[in-house]
């Protein structure tokens, strides 16, 4: 835990800034930082692994901590302690810009804080593609993320600004590039380890005299008995960091030195091939010439020489600190080199007898100098910038250096070669032993052992995966996926370049066209997911908190993570659009004259606000046209809404009220009354002359019946069948009475039978009357047989026709008459008294009194058909008369129909005559009523037919 001195809040050991007050915890006592932290070395660890002075002397300006706290990028993902001062010095300025006036009150780091190699000479400013106003000193040369610093620096730098915090060698640089620092100044400002270089002292002298000022890792080198960086033979591989071994040639190391074993290289610089034979040698490159002409760290980026056709090679796409050397690069000679070289590097350049590659390596800041694995071990240095320094001429040295670095350095190597395989493996911890031992302690996650033992397992294990700059290693996987080669994986995409032939990498690169270079340099796979980038940050850029922080914060240095990875690139800038580069590297369009370059968003606003900033412009919805509706339309809308919301009322069929019309009942009653009145008139009144004075016409049927009755033999019995009921008594009784009167008058034997129950009852009544009226038919006589009711209908009729004698088995009283010989003889006529010999043909006549057509039909079908020769007389009412007409086709079939026949057959009978008159009058009245009633019925039917009603025939 780290206790904040400002607020006293305990913060995690991995925190850089106080979580409460936001003050930078880096200002706290170094002893409060945990030992396990990688970048914040404790006093003990500093003793064991001394920081370079230019890193150790970094002291954030007093206002910087709070500003850093406010800055999301370094606060969350990075540590200012891990940053070089040239990066650290910008942070407060950036934050001050972002915070506004509040931050501006803080002493902003002056431009003097910047190292001179970050500055651009005023003379070069004019030729810069993006020139800034003169008052904004350095803006035109600074990257966007540094321009804010410059803008802040427009204010008079305070005396207690960053100038005091900067190392002297940075102070000197900040005073002006054209101002050559004196040796005395160098002796005051530069670290001793640089001072020694500048003064041309050999390392032995430096080691002896400046051990206090030299970083520990330099002190160790010098103190090691076997650290002869120049001979390269007996040196301890672990005594000197590889990237410092590159400076060996500066001191006169042989350029043809064999490639160091892979263990000597830091994993992030180590070529996976590792084989000596595979690494190109720097002997094939004219490195000495280039080294003398231009400092490689100024020559490394030669943007103007790169055709602008490839937008990714434009100066704006590179950080200004990479573009600094662009202006004088193409034509720079030695003099130019001197002008652009910081004084602390001039010493190196001047004292460099080594080949150009070595010189170029010395010209670069040590942290940019890459260890080499080539025999010359120089070409591997500066591989970071190798891609852009392949131009012929003064830049060739740098180009060669980059070439070598590309071969030997993990992140500058040829992507097509297999050199990065081992590098990748090292980065993955598969070959961490050698890699960790080569890293400087300040690049390691954990302090190595006090003795730089290559076999130190902890160091080897821990540095295996983290010593590689993660923001460079982030492109590993995509590179592999894209090119299928592991070489590109270890190189940042924006530095990736196609691999030249291994045999002559520098030559191949030198022969490349600028377009190709640009394309190769920035040909990189699409941005990786943040999770993959999390572990790829270099340790010196990784905050201790980052290990436990969100995975999305990794992959790039915090100061690079501000720019969204997926930020769309400008048109025609596809290379950068796929890279994990800050925005200022994506910006390919040079700022217009007089216009300050765009400030990256991460420098303008806090990350928290920047994150919520929408990536795309909000969708602007076109304004809907205003619709003006008239009142009628509104009413119609309301009506429709009401109809829609209101449920439809189902029509209920209500039965129409019954109109109790008394017309029809009255008419009915009236008709009945009229008919009854007519009947009563005929019955009670005098006889009406209905025949109009004429005698009634004789009815042929009655006359024929009368003739037949008169012709009947006296010994032939007459079968009288009563098949009628009381409903037709008004007509049938007069007929029965009339016929019986005719028969009894002649003393004819009579056999009464009935198949109808009511007929048997009515028959009984008539038999009793006949018996009473005539002595010949008195009870016990043989003139009359009442057989009564014979059940079975047509079955009984069929039995009668088949077995006529069987009728005598049971009479009306239940007696069997078959044994009565007198009866059988009388009734069967000459049968000898045997009932079984009785036949229908022995009958004189069959008279059927029926009131229905079925009665006639049954007798005709069952009896008349069996005995057609026997005359059959049907006495029926007028209703059945027309229906029995078809059965009267035979001459033996006769009929008496209704009262007229009875009246004609019976003779004069006043009562029967009045009844007939009443019937006739009643029928006439009924006819008149029908005529009257037919008129409205006809009209109604006509109206119905006009309405399309179907006719009665079509129903």
């Amino acid at each position: 835990m780290i206790t904040c001195q400002h607020c006293g809040t305990s913060n995690p050991s991995t925190s850089i800034v106080c979580q409460t007050c936001g003050q930078v915890l880096a200002d706290e006592a170094p002893t409060q930082r945990p030992v396990t932290t990688t970048t914040a070395a404790t006093a003990d660890t500093e003793d064991a692994f001394p920081l370079p002075d230019w890193l150790r002397d970094i002291d954030l300006p007093s206002p910087a901590p709070s500003a850093v706290v406010e800055s999301p990028a370094p606060t969350q993902n990075g540590s200012t302690n891990d940053l070089p001062d040239w990066l650290l010095a910008d942070t407060p300025a950036v934050e001050a810009t972002a915070r506004g006036p509040e931050m501006e009150e803080r002493p902003a780091p002056a431009l003097d804080d910047l190292p001179d190699w970050l500055r651009v000479p005023p003379s070069a400013t004019a030729s810069a593609p993006a020139t800034a106003p003169a008052d904004t000193q350095g803006d035109y040369e600074l990257p966007a993320w540094l321009r804010d610093t410059a803008s802040v620096n427009n204010q008079p730098p305070s005396s207690d600004g960053g100038s005091e915090e900067l190392p002297s060698w940075l102070h000197a640089a900040s005073e002006g590039q054209d101002q050559s620092p004196s040796l005395q100044q160098e002796g005051e400002d530069l670290p001793t380890w640089l001072r020694a270089v500048a003064s041309g002292e050999d390392e032995a002298a430096t080691n002896g005299g400046g051990s206090d000022e030299l970083p520990a890792w330099l002190q160790e080198v010098t103190s090691s008995p076997s650290t002869d960086l120049r001979d390269g033979t007996g040196q301890d591989e672990y005594a000197l960091p590889d990237w410092l071994r590159d400076s060996g040639p500066v001191a006169g190391a042989t350029p043809a030195r064999q490639v160091s074993p892979p263990e000597e290289l830091p994993s992030w610089l180590q070529d996976e091939r590792g084989g000596d034979t595979q690494l190109p040698t720097v002997e094939t490159q004219p490195q000495a010439e280039s080294a003398a002409e231009l400092p490689p760290w100024l020559q490394e980026v030669d943007i103007p020489t790169v055709p602008t056709a490839a937008s990714d090679t434009s100066p704006d796409t590179l950080p200004s600190w990479l573009l600094e050397g662009d202006q004088p690069a193409p034509t720079n000679g030695a003099g130019t080199e001197d002008a652009t070289l910081p004084p602390w590097l001039d010493e190196i350049a001047a004292a460099a007898p080594a080949p150009a590659a070595d010189t170029s390596s010395n010209a670069l800041p040590s942290w940019l100098i890459e260890p080499t694995t080539s025999p010359a071990s120089d070409g591997e240095n500066g591989g970071f910038f190798a891609a852009t320094d392949r131009e012929a001429g003064p830049e060739q040295g740098i180009a060669q250096t980059i070439e070598l670095a590309g071969d030997g350095g993990g992140w500058g190597q040829n992507p097509t070669s297999g050199d990065t395989v081992a590098f990748d493996e090292v980065a993955r911890g598969q070959n961490s032993t050698g890699a960790d031992a080569e890293l400087p302690y300040w690049l390691r996650d954990e302090p190595p052992a006090t003795t730089m033992d290559s076999a130190s397992p902890p160091v080897a294990d821990e540095l295996s995966a983290t010593d590689i700059p993660e923001w460079l290693r982030a492109d590993e996987a995509p590179a592999q996926a894209t090119s299928g080669s592991a070489a590109t994986a270890s190189m940042p995409a924006w530095l990736d370049e196609p691999a030249p032939s291994e045999a002559e990498p520098a030559t191949a690169l030198a022969a490349m066209q600028p377009d190709e270079e640009g394309a190769r340099v920035y040909d990189a796979p699409p941005p990786k997911p943040a999770t993959d980038q999390a572990a790829t940050l270099p340790p010196w850029l990784i905050d201790a908190d980052e290990a436990s922080g969100p995975a999305t914060s990794g992959g790039l240095p915090t100061w690079l993570q501000e720019t969204p990875v997926a930020e769309p690139s400008a048109p025609g800038n596809d290379f950068f659009g796929n890279l994990d580069l800050p925005a200022w590297m994506h910006d390919t369009s040079p700022p217009a004259a007089g216009e300050q370059a765009a400030v990256p968003t991460y420098l303008e606003v806090p990350a928290s606000e920047a994150e919520v900033e929408p990536a795309v412009a909000p969708l602007i919805t076109p304004a809907q046209p205003t619709i003006t509706r008239s009142a009628e339309r509104l009413d119609a809308i309301a009506l429709l809404e009401r109809l829609r919301s209101t449920p439809v009322v189902e029509p209920v069929r209500v039965a129409p009220p019954v109109r109790r019309s008394w017309v029809v009942p009255a008419l009915q009653v009236l008709a009945v009354v009229v008919i009854i009145a007519a009947l009563l008139l005929a019955l009670l009144g005098p006889r009406l002359p209905l025949n109009l004075g004429y005698a009634p016409q004789p009815r042929p049927g009655a006359a024929a019946v009368a003739q037949r009755l008169q012709a009947l033999p006296s010994d032939r019995p007459v079968l009288v069948a009563y098949e009628w009921d009381a409903r037709r008594a008004a007509e049938l009784r007069p007929l029965a009475t009339t016929v019986l009167a005719q028969l009894t008058a002649r003393q004819l034997p009579l056999i009464f039978v009935s198949t109808d129950p009511q007929g048997s009852l009515l028959m009984e009544t008539d038999v009793r009357g006949v018996s009473v009226a005539n002595a010949a038919y008195a009870a016990g006589s043989a003139g009359l047989v009442n057989l009564g009711f014979k059940p079975g209908g047509i079955i009984a009729l069929a039995g009668l026709s088949q077995r006529f004698g069987g009728l005598f088995a049971v009479d009306a009283r239940g007696q069997d008459l078959r044994a009565d010989t007198a009866v059988i003889t009388r009734m069967c006529g000459n049968s000898g008294g045997d009932a079984n010999r009785c036949r229908l043909e022995q009958l004189g006549m069959i008279m059927v009194l029926g009131d229905e057509q079925s009665d006639v039909q049954g007798w005709v079908e069952q009896v008349h058909a069996a005995a057609p020769a026997v005359p059959m007389l049907f006495a029926v009412p007028s209703e059945v008369g027309p229906q029995v007409r078809p059965y009267l086709t035979d001459d033996q079939a006769l009929a008496l129909i209704g009262l007229p026949d009875a009246l004609q057959l019976g003779g004069t009978n006043d009562a029967l005559a009045r009844q007939w008159d009443a019937t006739t009058l009643g029928a006439a009245v009924f006819g008149v009523l029908v005529l009257f009633g037919s008129v409205p019925a006809a009209l109604r039917g006509r109206r119905a037919r006009k309405r399309g009603a179907r006719d009665v025939w079509d129903r």
């Binding site: 008004a730 047509i794 005709v860 209703e879 009443a918 029928a923």
Partner: protein
């Protein structure tokens, strides 16, 4: 007294039935139900008395012949089978045998009698060729007219025809046939009206006679 009481009951019942001419009323219903009940009661008693009592009486008296006994036995068996329709009806299917015998014999007799007593005689009478050869001209005209009207009437019954009906002679023949049918129905109606008017007149005459009898007795 008998004719006076009987005439009085007949008069009351007649008035009750005639009350229906005004509206449906309980008096009409009473007379109607009394008529139906008395008719059914008398029919039932007549059937029992005519079919069951004679053989049973002969059987009890010991005067029944073998024929009567066989008929009685068959009647009892058929009656027993028919009684299975009542009760739980487990053996109700046995009632089908007497019913089958009854309807079978009746249908056979009806069919045979219809063909023999109705169809053949009427068809022959309709095509009465002797009438055409009769020296009576009216008989010849009547025979021809009956044949023509019969055909016209039969042609009026066209069950499959075009939507618009027959055209020309067909339409006229159909109208003629329908006219003949309506005339026939008119004849039937007039005959029925005559019957009912005669019945009304006869009933009114009975009432008048009863009133006369009542007046005479009074």
């Amino acid at each position: 007294m008998g004719p006076l009481i009987g005439g009085g009951i007949a008069t009351v019942l007649t008035l009750l039935v005639l009350s229906r001419a005004i509206a449906d009323n309980i008096a009409y219903r009473l007379a109607q139900h009394a008529l139906v009940g008395l008719a059914l009661g008398y029919a039932a008693s007549a059937l029992v008395r005519a079919t069951i009592v004679p053989p049973v009486r002969a059987l009890i008296a010991g005067t029944a012949t073998i024929e009567q006994l066989v008929v009685l036995l068959i009647s009892v068996v058929l009656l027993a089978l028919f009684l299975t329709r009542f009760g739980r009806q487990r053996l109700s299917h046995l009632a089908n045998y007497p019913l089958a015998l009854l309807f079978g014999v009746g249908a056979a007799l009806a069919l045979l009698g219809a063909v023999r007593g109705t169809l053949a005689p009427q068809i022959v009478d309709t095509m009465r060729l002797p009438g055409l050869t009769s020296p009576d001209i009216t008989a010849q005209i009547g025979t021809a007219l009956v044949a023509a009207l019969t055909l016209t009437t039969l042609l009026s019954f066209m069950y499959a025809t075009r939507p618009g009906g027959p055209k020309g002679l067909g339409r006229m023949g159909r109208a003629t046939g329908r006219g003949l049918i309506l005339a026939t129905f008119g004849v039937f109606l007039a005959a029925a009206v005559t019957t009912y008017i005669a019945a009304l007149a006869g009933q009114l005459n009975a009432i008048i006679q009863w009133i006369n009898l009542l007046l005479e007795s009074a």
